[in-house]
């Protein structure tokens, strides 16, 4: 199959026959002996043939072509499935395909311009992650830096759908006075919203990143020597929560989390030292 042509997402008779052929080869094994990878591939192909874009979007990330003998053929299936799902309106499929094209996964030639069109489609289909991809790009993760445009995409992400990461990253702009006027009250509100949404959602790492920021914005209210014991303990609680999550996620080995983890560790050290000093002196409140 010509992988580039598969990107049109059209379920032609030829392609149906091709997919059914792969299914048949899987079905030749009795179902008890199907491996999990083969089972997932079967589910993916059936969802494509059945036009179930929701299921395509949920199964896609779980299918690993390296677990199959015919790697290139499975890459074709994955790319086609994503394209079909995207055409049918599933934003997870659009996002998946956009990432694949930008990063050059599944033996695709990396292309930012074509891949980002799928990010844009994901955004139009109501997925805030599409906007976040653009925001990351303009914030300099791919070398290009345009903070104003980055902020506009973070804002889109939040407006489209209460995205925890977008909340705290907009908060960063207000905290640092980047593009907008510095406003630590607004920053704290946004960090708190990001933290609250992350608590309800499934991305613990967002909770950790929001918690570090909450700790820092509360620290920013004055020199550490002037913060009360209660305030210090609240700040420490946020740092400690973040540290625990970062440790669980091996944040040290993840580039974009390393900086937050370092801030967290440094913060814990400084705040603990201050608390110990206050408790050692027997002081509960500082004027």
């Amino acid at each position: 199959m010509d992988r580039k042509k598969l990107l049109d997402g059209e379920l032609t008779e030829e392609r149906k026959t091709w997919l059914k052929g792969i299914l048949e080869s899987l079905n030749q094994n009795p179902s008890e002996s199907l491996s999990m990878d083969e089972y997932l591939l079967k589910v993916l192909i059936n969802s494509v043939l059945g036009g179930d874009s929701f299921l395509i979007g949920r199964v896609l990330p779980a299918v690993d072509p390296s677990k199959h003998r015919n790697y290139e053929s499975i890459c074709d299936v994955i790319v086609f499935a994503a394209a079909v799902g995207s055409e049918l309106g599933d934003s997870e499929c659009s996002l998946f395909l956009g990432d694949a094209m930008v990063l050059g996964h599944f033996s695709l030639s990396p292309t930012l311009s074509r891949g980002s069109r799928y990010w844009g489609r994901a955004m139009d289909q109501g997925n805030p992650e599409g906007a976040l991809r653009f925001a990351d790009y303009y914030e300099g993760y791919c070398g290009h830096r345009d903070y104003e445009t980055a902020l506009s995409y973070f804002i889109r992400a939040v407006l489209i759908g209460d995205n925890a990461e977008a909340f705290y990253r907009i908060g960063d702009f207000y905290f640092e006075g980047k593009v907008v006027e510095r406003d630590t009250v607004m920053a704290e509100t946004l960090y708190q919203r990001g933290y609250n949404f992350a608590k309800e959602g499934s991305r613990k790492i967002d909770r950790a990143s929001a918690a570090v920021r909450l700790a820092e914005v509360k620290r920013d209210k004055g020199p550490i020597q002037q913060l009360s014991l209660d305030a210090l303990e609240e700040i420490l609680a946020y740092y400690t929560e973040a540290e625990s999550i970062f440790q669980d996620c091996n944040a040290d080995s993840v580039l974009y989390l390393k900086s937050d983890f370092e801030r967290c560790r440094k913060g814990i050290s400084e705040v603990e030292e201050r608390i110990d000093m206050l408790k050692g002196k027997g002081l509960e409140e500082v004027d």
């Binding site: 139009d124 109501g126 506009s152 804002i155 889109r156 939040v158 407006l159 489209i160 759908g161 209460d162 909340f167 907009i170 907008v180 009250v185 607004m186 509100t189 946004l190 919203r193």
Partner: protein, 291 residues
């Protein structure tokens, strides 16, 4: 009492004597049992103002079943309400700042219309975290009520309301900016996404006024479909009807500026009904264009 003077919120000796007089006022026996309730309300409100406690003033002013709105036609009650609001504003009540700001904006409740004062109160309330104040300040900037139209400031006000509180009105106003390409780049997809989000949020919050406005906007955008399907036409009819009901309520409550939009809702419904009837007569169905 001169109501305009009371707007300064200063607790002078004269005003204290006036409030004390209200607190100790004998209840009037009234067969319909209305007056004692009114007098009791004035007594409680006057007492809260004497205490200069913004929380107590708020609780009294905004309690369920209160006489607040009656103050527009009741001089004595209106004076106490205005003074209560003004005092609470000096003590940092965001909600009272918002309310008094609205009186200045609309020129109601015996308060002379003054957009600058309205903007000042809205800004203070916004800084204290009141999202509706941010939206209202946005209107001041968007319509240039203080002399200069400033879409950037308006956008940031609406954005603040949306970011800090998921405020449905703030969200559909941002949608308007994307729809018209004001301050942000023209993006109809984004506008529609925001209108739908506002509609869903307003439904969750049981805010029929906002839902009506969002419904109107969604329906107006759907008007741009080149050949709307039968299903789309019925959806539009549903939305315009919802918008009409919401706007009738707003107009009845005094928001006469919604009358032109209300009339447009009625007109659009008529047009849609005629289109549906024509298709039915001609035996034409546009389901294949349904998206």
């Amino acid at each position: 009492m001169n109501r305009v003077d009371l707007l300064d919120g200063r607790m002078t000796d004269e005003r204290k004597r006036w409030l004390v007089g209200l607190v100790t006022h004998e209840s009037i026996i009234d067969p319909l049992d209305i007056m004692p309730v009114r007098m009791r309300y004035i007594e409680v409100l006057a007492e809260s103002v004497l205490n200069e406690d913004p929380g107590l003033i708020e609780d009294t002013l905004f309690a369920d079943g209160f006489y607040f709105s009656e103050g527009e036609h009741d001089a004595e009650l209106g004076d106490v309400v205005i003074f209560a609001l003004a005092v609470a504003c000096t003590k940092g009540s965001a909600r009272c700042m918002l309310t008094l700001g609205s009186f200045y904006y609309l020129g109601t409740f015996g308060v002379p219309q003054n957009y600058h004062n309205a903007a000042t109160l809205y800004a203070s309330a916004m800084d204290l975290g009141e999202p509706q104040a941010a939206v209202n300040l946005g209107y001041v900037y968007e319509y240039g009520h203080t002399g200069v139209t400033d879409y950037e400031k308006a956008f940031h006000c609406y954005l603040r309301a949306a970011l800090t509180a998921n405020h449905p009105e703030g969200i559909y106003k941002i949608g308007d900016f994307y729809n018209k390409g004001r301050f942000v780049s023209h993006d109809e997809n984004m506008a529609m996404t925001l209108y739908r989000r506002s509609y869903d949020l307003a439904e969750k919050e049981q805010n029929p006024g906002c839902r009506a406005q969002a419904a109107f906007r969604i329906a107006e955008m759907m008007q741009n479909l080149p050949l709307p399907s039968d299903e789309a036409l019925l959806s539009m009819l549903d939305l315009y009807m919802e918008a009409e009901i919401g706007m009738r309520r707003e107009v009845a409550a005094g928001a006469s500026y919604y009358r032109p939009r209300l009339e447009l809702c009625v007109k659009r419904q008529q047009e849609i009904r005629e289109t549906i009837e024509a298709r039915s007569r001609d035996g034409v169905s546009f389901s294949i264009f349904d998206k």
